[in-house]
Symmetry: C2
DNA sequence: CTTGACCTTCCCGTGACTGGAACCCTCATT
DNA sequence: AATGAGGGTTCCAGTCACGGGAAGGTCAAG
Protein backbone atom coordinates (compact mmCIF):
# COMPACT_ATOMS: atom_id res chain seq x y z
CA UNK A 1 0.00 0.00 0.00
CA UNK A 2 1.11 3.50 -0.82
CA UNK A 3 0.84 6.36 1.59
CA UNK A 4 -2.36 7.74 0.11
CA UNK A 5 -4.24 4.50 0.64
CA UNK A 6 -2.82 4.17 4.11
CA UNK A 7 -3.97 7.68 4.85
CA UNK A 8 -7.48 6.83 3.71
CA UNK A 9 -7.51 3.59 5.66
CA UNK A 10 -6.17 4.95 8.92
CA UNK A 11 -7.68 8.41 8.74
CA UNK A 12 -4.26 9.92 9.39
CA UNK A 13 -2.97 12.66 7.07
CA UNK A 14 -0.09 11.58 4.84
CA UNK A 15 1.98 14.34 6.42
CA UNK A 16 1.45 12.81 9.82
CA UNK A 17 2.36 9.35 8.60
CA UNK A 18 5.62 10.66 7.15
CA UNK A 19 6.26 12.49 10.38
CA UNK A 20 5.84 9.28 12.34
CA UNK A 21 8.45 7.74 10.12
CA UNK A 22 10.78 10.69 10.62
CA UNK A 23 10.69 10.21 14.35
CA UNK A 24 11.15 6.48 14.04
CA UNK A 25 7.71 5.20 14.98
CA UNK A 26 6.71 3.38 11.80
CA UNK A 27 9.22 2.20 9.22
CA UNK A 28 7.70 1.23 5.88
CA UNK A 29 9.65 -0.42 3.06
CA UNK A 30 10.51 1.43 -0.12
CA UNK A 31 9.64 0.51 -3.68
CA UNK A 32 12.19 0.91 -6.46
CA UNK A 33 10.74 4.29 -7.34
CA UNK A 34 11.26 5.53 -3.80
CA UNK A 35 7.61 5.29 -2.78
CA UNK A 36 6.85 4.11 0.74
CA UNK A 37 5.29 0.67 0.88
CA UNK A 38 3.29 -0.18 4.00
CA UNK A 39 2.80 -3.71 5.27
CA UNK A 40 -0.14 -4.75 7.38
CA UNK A 41 1.90 -4.50 10.55
CA UNK A 42 2.71 -0.90 9.64
CA UNK A 43 -0.98 -0.14 9.21
CA UNK A 44 -1.64 -1.81 12.53
CA UNK A 45 0.94 0.38 14.22
CA UNK A 46 -0.49 3.49 12.65
CA UNK A 47 -3.95 2.61 13.88
CA UNK A 48 -2.49 2.03 17.32
CA UNK A 49 -0.89 5.45 17.18
CA UNK A 50 -4.06 7.09 15.97
CA UNK A 51 -6.03 5.68 18.88
CA UNK A 52 -3.37 6.52 21.45
CA UNK A 53 -3.09 10.07 20.14
CA UNK A 54 -6.88 10.39 20.20
CA UNK A 55 -6.72 9.55 23.90
CA UNK A 56 -4.29 12.42 24.26
CA UNK A 57 -1.11 10.46 24.90
CA UNK A 58 2.02 12.34 23.89
CA UNK A 59 4.21 10.98 21.13
CA UNK A 60 6.74 9.86 23.73
CA UNK A 61 4.00 8.03 25.61
CA UNK A 62 2.98 6.44 22.33
CA UNK A 63 6.53 5.28 21.80
CA UNK A 64 6.56 3.72 25.24
CA UNK A 65 3.15 2.13 24.80
CA UNK A 66 4.08 0.68 21.42
CA UNK A 67 7.23 -0.81 22.88
CA UNK A 68 5.17 -2.41 25.64
CA UNK A 69 2.62 -3.57 23.10
CA UNK A 70 5.31 -5.41 21.20
CA UNK A 71 6.96 -6.82 24.30
CA UNK A 72 5.41 -10.16 25.25
CA UNK A 73 7.15 -10.09 28.59
CA UNK A 74 5.70 -6.73 29.65
CA UNK A 75 3.99 -6.23 32.98
CA UNK A 76 0.54 -4.67 32.73
CA UNK A 77 1.53 -2.50 35.68
CA UNK A 78 3.93 -0.64 33.41
CA UNK A 79 1.16 0.12 30.98
CA UNK A 80 -1.16 1.15 33.76
CA UNK A 81 1.45 3.48 35.18
CA UNK A 82 1.74 5.36 31.90
CA UNK A 83 -2.01 5.57 31.56
CA UNK A 84 -2.50 6.77 35.10
CA UNK A 85 0.11 9.49 34.75
CA UNK A 86 -1.61 10.66 31.60
CA UNK A 87 -5.02 10.56 33.23
CA UNK A 88 -3.69 12.76 36.01
CA UNK A 89 -2.54 15.30 33.42
CA UNK A 90 -5.89 15.21 31.70
CA UNK A 91 -7.71 15.75 34.98
CA UNK A 92 -5.45 18.64 35.90
CA UNK A 93 -6.15 20.25 32.56
CA UNK A 94 -9.87 19.73 33.01
CA UNK A 95 -9.71 21.41 36.40
CA UNK A 96 -7.90 24.40 34.89
CA UNK A 97 -10.40 24.69 32.11
CA UNK A 98 -13.37 24.34 34.43
CA UNK A 99 -12.09 27.23 36.50
CA UNK A 100 -11.72 29.31 33.34
CA UNK A 101 -15.16 28.34 32.17
CA UNK A 102 -16.76 29.31 35.45
CA UNK A 103 -15.06 32.69 35.57
CA UNK A 104 -15.78 33.38 31.92
CA UNK A 105 -19.38 32.33 32.37
CA UNK A 106 -19.91 34.69 35.28
CA UNK A 107 -18.29 37.58 33.49
CA UNK A 108 -20.26 36.99 30.32
CA UNK A 109 -23.51 36.81 32.26
CA UNK A 110 -22.68 40.09 33.96
CA UNK A 111 -21.98 41.86 30.68
CA UNK A 112 -24.88 43.66 29.08
CA UNK A 113 -23.55 43.11 25.58
CA UNK A 114 -25.09 46.26 24.20
CA UNK A 115 -23.66 49.35 22.52
CA UNK A 116 -22.53 51.01 25.73
CA UNK A 117 -18.90 50.83 26.83
CA UNK A 118 -19.48 49.63 30.41
CA UNK A 119 -18.21 46.09 30.69
CA UNK A 120 -17.56 43.91 33.73
CA UNK A 121 -15.30 41.68 31.67
CA UNK A 122 -12.89 44.51 30.98
CA UNK A 123 -13.28 45.79 34.52
CA UNK A 124 -12.18 42.42 35.82
CA UNK A 125 -9.23 42.18 33.44
CA UNK A 126 -8.24 45.72 34.29
CA UNK A 127 -7.95 44.83 37.96
CA UNK A 128 -11.32 46.45 38.48
CA UNK A 129 -12.79 47.36 41.82
CA UNK B 1 10.92 50.43 37.21
CA UNK B 2 13.28 47.96 35.64
CA UNK B 3 12.14 44.68 34.22
CA UNK B 4 13.12 42.64 37.26
CA UNK B 5 10.93 44.65 39.57
CA UNK B 6 8.10 44.56 37.07
CA UNK B 7 8.49 40.81 36.88
CA UNK B 8 8.24 40.54 40.66
CA UNK B 9 5.28 42.88 40.80
CA UNK B 10 3.27 41.30 37.99
CA UNK B 11 4.33 37.71 38.49
CA UNK B 12 5.24 37.51 34.80
CA UNK B 13 8.70 36.18 33.83
CA UNK B 14 11.04 38.81 32.39
CA UNK B 15 11.22 36.72 29.24
CA UNK B 16 7.49 36.99 28.83
CA UNK B 17 7.51 40.73 29.40
CA UNK B 18 10.18 41.18 26.72
CA UNK B 19 8.18 38.95 24.42
CA UNK B 20 5.10 41.12 24.89
CA UNK B 21 7.19 44.07 23.83
CA UNK B 22 8.49 42.19 20.79
CA UNK B 23 4.98 41.59 19.57
CA UNK B 24 3.95 45.14 20.27
CA UNK B 25 1.71 44.70 23.29
CA UNK B 26 3.58 46.81 25.86
CA UNK B 27 6.07 49.50 24.94
CA UNK B 28 8.24 50.67 27.82
CA UNK B 29 10.62 53.61 27.62
CA UNK B 30 14.37 53.15 27.55
CA UNK B 31 16.95 54.58 29.92
CA UNK B 32 20.23 55.93 28.59
CA UNK B 33 21.91 52.64 29.36
CA UNK B 34 19.39 50.77 27.24
CA UNK B 35 17.43 49.34 30.16
CA UNK B 36 13.66 49.18 29.81
CA UNK B 37 11.79 51.59 32.05
CA UNK B 38 8.18 50.76 32.83
CA UNK B 39 5.59 53.35 33.71
CA UNK B 40 2.52 52.61 35.78
CA UNK B 41 0.36 52.30 32.70
CA UNK B 42 2.75 49.66 31.37
CA UNK B 43 2.44 47.70 34.61
CA UNK B 44 -1.30 48.04 34.36
CA UNK B 45 -1.28 46.63 30.86
CA UNK B 46 0.94 43.75 31.91
CA UNK B 47 -1.42 42.88 34.73
CA UNK B 48 -4.29 43.03 32.28
CA UNK B 49 -2.43 40.66 30.00
CA UNK B 50 -1.59 38.32 32.85
CA UNK B 51 -5.22 38.04 33.86
CA UNK B 52 -6.46 37.62 30.30
CA UNK B 53 -3.87 34.92 29.63
CA UNK B 54 -4.82 33.19 32.88
CA UNK B 55 -8.36 32.99 31.53
CA UNK B 56 -6.95 31.26 28.48
CA UNK B 57 -7.39 34.03 25.95
CA UNK B 58 -4.94 33.83 23.06
CA UNK B 59 -2.44 36.60 22.52
CA UNK B 60 -4.49 37.86 19.60
CA UNK B 61 -7.58 37.94 21.78
CA UNK B 62 -5.58 39.86 24.36
CA UNK B 63 -4.59 42.37 21.73
CA UNK B 64 -8.22 42.82 20.79
CA UNK B 65 -9.36 43.06 24.40
CA UNK B 66 -6.67 45.62 25.24
CA UNK B 67 -7.69 47.72 22.27
CA UNK B 68 -11.29 47.62 23.46
CA UNK B 69 -10.18 48.37 26.99
CA UNK B 70 -8.49 51.52 25.81
CA UNK B 71 -11.32 52.57 23.55
CA UNK B 72 -13.84 54.68 25.42
CA UNK B 73 -16.30 54.37 22.57
CA UNK B 74 -16.34 50.57 22.59
CA UNK B 75 -19.56 48.60 22.71
CA UNK B 76 -19.66 45.98 25.45
CA UNK B 77 -21.19 43.63 22.89
CA UNK B 78 -17.83 43.50 21.13
CA UNK B 79 -16.13 42.43 24.32
CA UNK B 80 -18.83 39.90 25.05
CA UNK B 81 -18.49 38.45 21.58
CA UNK B 82 -14.79 37.76 22.07
CA UNK B 83 -15.41 36.26 25.48
CA UNK B 84 -18.21 34.05 24.25
CA UNK B 85 -16.17 32.73 21.36
CA UNK B 86 -13.39 31.88 23.78
CA UNK B 87 -15.80 30.25 26.19
CA UNK B 88 -17.06 28.06 23.37
CA UNK B 89 -13.49 26.93 22.69
CA UNK B 90 -12.92 26.21 26.34
CA UNK B 91 -16.09 24.19 26.55
CA UNK B 92 -15.23 22.23 23.44
CA UNK B 93 -11.84 21.42 24.91
CA UNK B 94 -13.43 20.36 28.17
CA UNK B 95 -15.77 18.04 26.30
CA UNK B 96 -12.82 16.45 24.49
CA UNK B 97 -10.92 15.99 27.70
CA UNK B 98 -13.91 14.57 29.53
CA UNK B 99 -14.29 11.96 26.83
CA UNK B 100 -10.61 11.07 27.16
CA UNK B 101 -10.86 10.95 30.91
CA UNK B 102 -13.84 8.60 30.80
CA UNK B 103 -12.20 6.22 28.36
CA UNK B 104 -8.91 6.30 30.21
CA UNK B 105 -10.67 5.73 33.50
CA UNK B 106 -12.51 2.67 32.22
CA UNK B 107 -9.38 1.19 30.71
CA UNK B 108 -7.33 1.80 33.81
CA UNK B 109 -10.00 0.20 35.99
CA UNK B 110 -10.04 -2.83 33.75
CA UNK B 111 -6.27 -3.27 33.89
CA UNK B 112 -4.95 -5.56 36.57
CA UNK B 113 -1.70 -3.65 36.90
CA UNK B 114 0.31 -6.67 37.92
CA UNK B 115 3.35 -8.42 36.47
CA UNK B 116 1.42 -10.31 33.82
CA UNK B 117 1.36 -9.04 30.22
CA UNK B 118 -2.43 -9.14 29.67
CA UNK B 119 -3.67 -5.58 29.42
CA UNK B 120 -7.02 -4.20 28.26
CA UNK B 121 -5.41 -0.82 27.64
CA UNK B 122 -3.08 -2.21 25.01
CA UNK B 123 -5.84 -4.43 23.65
CA UNK B 124 -7.97 -1.37 23.08
CA UNK B 125 -5.16 0.60 21.47
CA UNK B 126 -4.31 -2.39 19.31
CA UNK B 127 -7.83 -2.37 17.89
CA UNK B 128 -8.57 -5.36 20.05
CA UNK B 129 -11.65 -7.43 19.54
C1' DC C 1 39.30 46.35 41.35
C1' DT C 2 36.59 42.90 41.41
C1' DT C 3 32.55 40.53 42.40
C1' DG C 4 27.91 39.56 41.67
C1' DA C 5 23.46 40.84 40.39
C1' DC C 6 21.29 42.97 37.15
C1' DC C 7 20.32 44.13 32.26
C1' DT C 8 20.84 43.68 26.89
C1' DT C 9 20.38 41.11 22.25
C1' DC C 10 20.35 36.98 19.63
C1' DC C 11 19.42 32.41 18.37
C1' DC C 12 17.71 27.78 19.10
C1' DG C 13 14.27 24.50 20.95
C1' DT C 14 9.64 23.08 22.37
C1' DG C 15 5.10 19.49 20.33
C1' DA C 16 2.99 17.67 16.83
C1' DC C 17 2.25 18.62 13.18
C1' DT C 18 0.67 21.79 8.59
C1' DG C 19 1.55 24.37 4.28
C1' DG C 20 3.99 25.05 0.40
C1' DA C 21 7.70 24.83 -3.07
C1' DA C 22 10.13 22.17 -6.34
C1' DC C 23 10.63 18.06 -8.27
C1' DC C 24 9.83 12.78 -9.81
C1' DC C 25 6.68 8.76 -11.36
C1' DT C 26 2.85 6.63 -13.80
C1' DC C 27 -0.98 6.30 -16.56
C1' DA C 28 -4.37 7.99 -19.88
C1' DT C 29 -5.61 11.00 -23.41
C1' DT C 30 -4.83 13.93 -27.38
C1' DA D 1 5.27 12.18 -28.76
C1' DA D 2 3.54 15.54 -25.86
C1' DT D 3 0.52 16.72 -22.31
C1' DG D 4 -2.12 16.67 -18.14
C1' DA D 5 -3.83 14.76 -13.89
C1' DG D 6 -2.98 12.73 -9.86
C1' DG D 7 -0.11 10.21 -7.26
C1' DG D 8 4.52 10.36 -4.83
C1' DT D 9 9.30 12.50 -2.89
C1' DT D 10 12.35 15.90 -0.10
C1' DC D 11 13.16 19.98 2.34
C1' DC D 12 12.17 24.34 4.54
C1' DA D 13 9.34 27.48 7.09
C1' DG D 14 5.61 28.45 10.19
C1' DT D 15 2.52 27.53 14.07
C1' DC D 16 1.81 29.19 19.65
C1' DA D 17 3.67 31.38 23.58
C1' DC D 18 7.17 31.39 25.35
C1' DG D 19 11.97 29.18 27.86
C1' DG D 20 17.06 28.23 27.91
C1' DG D 21 21.34 29.73 27.35
C1' DA D 22 25.34 32.28 25.34
C1' DA D 23 27.97 36.53 24.98
C1' DG D 24 28.37 40.76 26.59
C1' DG D 25 27.19 45.69 28.84
C1' DT D 26 25.94 48.24 33.52
C1' DC D 27 25.85 49.27 38.23
C1' DA D 28 26.29 49.35 43.40
C1' DA D 29 28.95 47.39 47.14
C1' DG D 30 33.05 45.75 49.43
Amino acid sequence: MNIGDVSTQTGLPAKTIRYYEDIGLVKPLRDDNGYRRYRSQDIHKLNFLGRARALGFTIEDCRTLMALYEDDTRASSDVKKVARAHLAQVEAKIADLNAMRDTLGHLIDACAGDDRPDCPILQDLGGKA
